[in-house]
Symmetry: C2
Subunit: 121 residues, 2 copies
């Protein structure tokens, strides 16, 4: 049993999906670099790479809504990750538990778990 080679894309990134380890809720999708994966494995907390800010990013670093890693899975092609996490608070900056809180038709289906005005000052 040894580490699986990850197939980063030409921009040295790949997508990572975060799923709540208890509820099974898919919480968010973001991107990681090899550095973000290393930091995630070293610290036990989910790290991503922000494409807009162009920097490594610890989820919950400012909000406190961290994701403690239960397990990291990799897909058959090695080009996508699944973070199984224990989510503190909510994953979405809008206050919802999951970033996937709307259907493509525009219906809100997710649960709001915090008030972003109180978390992001």
């Amino acid at each position: 049993m040894s580490d699986i080679d990850l197939a980063f894309d030409e921009q040295e990134r790949l997508p990572a999906v975060a799923q709540d380890a208890d509820s099974g809720e898919v919480l968010m999708l973001a991107y990681v670099t090899s550095e973000a994966v290393e930091r995630t494995r070293e610290t036990g907390f989910a790290h991503y790479y922000s494409r807009s800010r162009e920097e490594l990013w610890k989820k919950g670093g400012s909000s406190g809504h961290v994701q403690e890693i239960a397990e990291i899975r990799v897909d058959c092609d090695g080009d996508a990750l699944l973070y199984l996490v224990d989510q503190t608070g909510g994953a979405c900056h809008t206050g919802y538990e999951s970033c996937f809180h709307r259907t493509v038709d525009g219906e809100t289906v997710g649960e709001r778990v915090f008030d972003p005005d109180e978390v992001y000052e």
Copy 2:
């Protein structure tokens, strides 16, 4: 309630995560174009865009392991989709229920549900 605008990337694609609507298992991650999303909504079966074959692709078109759509969700930024699906057979071409059947350490954690030699001839 109206359709949400999707934020396709510069290559006119975005990632779509398929999740089993019953078990909550995350099955796979693939990419979609606007045409793939339209076809998915029209037919009620998951379609993706194959980056290697550069073509629209119906999941299960050759294996019969189709994904019937229960709901399509979109994330807060509109740049990722979540397909909630009823998966026939297994999602992974290797015979596993999920493409995410290994941890990043190389341990197999998923369940094998079919023999690929019998499905892909």
